[in-house]
């Protein structure tokens, strides 16, 4: 987990860095940002608690044989296409998406298929599009971006097939 530690240091270093810049703009700016960030944190914690603590249960009841069958190493491009649909249809936050990916990998899913699943989920999971992206961005942009994004899980799977496993 040393990479995670490194990124932790980077993360908090960045917080200090931008905090310093904000502070030099004036203490009111700094205080307002600090309060805003803390309020974001307080507001987001319940959702994260539910997602993290709950997703273990959701992952525990996902029928693993089904995913193995869908995303298995022998499933080929049909498996990739299924993975893309599954990624778009996955409800819940990152914990659910990544947990399903992990379950798929551990239960014998093919790596290109799991990559396609994770990338499709990251690009256009319906729940994030509807609940986060649409409220903040012009709807026309959101649909356009999703449509343009459709080929790219397949591209990622193709690259994964070419360069092999991690």
């Amino acid at each position: 987990m040393s990479a995670a530690l490194l990124i932790d240091i980077l993360l908090w270093g960045s917080v200090l860095g931008v905090g310093l810049i904000a502070f030099r703009r004036g203490p009111p700016v700094f205080k307002a940002s600090l309060r805003e960030g803390t309020m974001d944190f307080v507001n987001i914690v319940p959702r994260i608690a539910l997602g993290v603590i709950g997703s273990g249960y959701i992952a525990a009841i996902i029928p693993q044989e089904v995913i193995t069958g869908w995303l298995g190493p022998d499933s080929g491009w049909l498996g990739v296409a299924t993975a893309v649909v599954a990624g778009a249809a996955t409800p819940g936050g990152p914990v659910v998406g990544f947990s399903i990916g992990t379950v798929a990998l551990k239960s014998g899913g093919g790596v290109p298929q799991v990559v396609a699943y994770v990338v499709a989920w990251a690009l256009f999971a319906f729940q994030r599009v509807i609940l986060w992206e649409i409220p903040f961005m012009p709807a026309r942009f959101v649909w356009f971006r999703c449509a343009v994004s459709v080929p790219f899980p397949f591209v990622a799977a193709a690259i994964a097939m070419v360069i092999g496993k991690p």
């Binding site: 987990m1 990479a3 990124i7 932790d8 980077l10 993360l11 960045s14 917080v15 931008v18 905090g19 810049i21 904000a22 700016v29 307002a32 940002s33 600090l34 805003e36 960030g37 309020m39 974001d40 944190f41 987001i44 914690v45 319940p46 959702r47 994260i48 608690a49 539910l50 997602g51 993290v52 603590i53 709950g54 959701i58 525990a60 009841i61 819940g92 990152p94 914990v95 990544f98 990916g101 992990t102 994770v118 990338v119 690009l123 609940l131 986060w132 409220p135 903040f136 961005m137 012009p138 942009f141 356009f144 971006r145 343009v148 994004s149 790219f152 591209v155 690259i159 496993k165 991690p166």
Partner: protein
């Protein structure tokens, strides 16, 4: 970023000189209710299958995961708030307009990759970029880059859950995708809407 509503983006000058209003927050929305229901049903199924011990095992594991994630979430929220405050909106938009070419897509990609925080940071900032003159291509590159190679989600979620090896490898594979998506977006957009930005804000 100072204005959460996409339909009336804040003038840039105001965003830089005035304290920004609070973001729109949705403490308990439909997603929360649906997920809560899903979790309850799943926990009940686990309890029927594995008994109380099975339920407690998962709870213990997830609680330790949760306590590990919390500080990173706080860091992400603070970072997002500070960056929203100090972001040089005009300069960013000039480098990301319709005529910014490959460089604009690359800048969008780099910006998305270093942009911290969760969706509550990325989408408002992307919306601000659109409002101050970035085109669809560069903004798509930014959003796709944030979601695929941004370190925020990778650190907070993907590495703890999927492992460092898979995550770094997956990010490596994803490196070309934001520029390609932005280029495809720009290519399609200029053919779908030949007249530049004339009817953008009509509804």
């Amino acid at each position: 970023m100072s204005e959460p509503s996409p339909n009336n983006p804040a003038p840039v000058g105001d965003a830089e000189s005035e304290p920004r209003p609070g973001r729109v927050r949705k403490p308990i929305g439909w997603s929360t209710i649906i997920i809560a229901g899903l979790v309850a049903v799943s926990a009940a199924l686990v309890w029927r299958r594995d008994g109380t011990d099975g339920v407690l095992d998962i709870l213990t594991h997830d609680l330790s995961l949760f306590s590990g994630i919390l500080p990173r979430v706080l860091a992400g929220c603070l970072l997002g708030a500070f960056i929203s405050e100090i972001l040089p909106h005009e300069k960013v938009s000039r480098s990301l307009g319709p005529k910014s070419g490959l460089m604009g897509l690359l800048i969008g990609t780099a910006f998305g990759a270093i942009l911290p925080g969760g969706p509550f940071t990325a989408y408002p900032v992307a919306s601000a970029l659109l409002a101050v003159g970035a085109d669809f291509g560069a903004t798509i590159a930014m959003v796709v880059s944030w979601t695929l190679i941004g370190y925020g989600r990778a650190v907070a979620w993907e590495i703890p859950i999927m492992g460092t090896d898979f995550t770094l490898w997956r990010i490596l594979i994803s490196l070309p995708l934001p520029v390609l998506a932005g280029a495809l977006g720009r290519f399609v957009y200029t053919r779908l809407y030949p007249k530049p930005l004339a009817k953008d804000d009509e509804s």
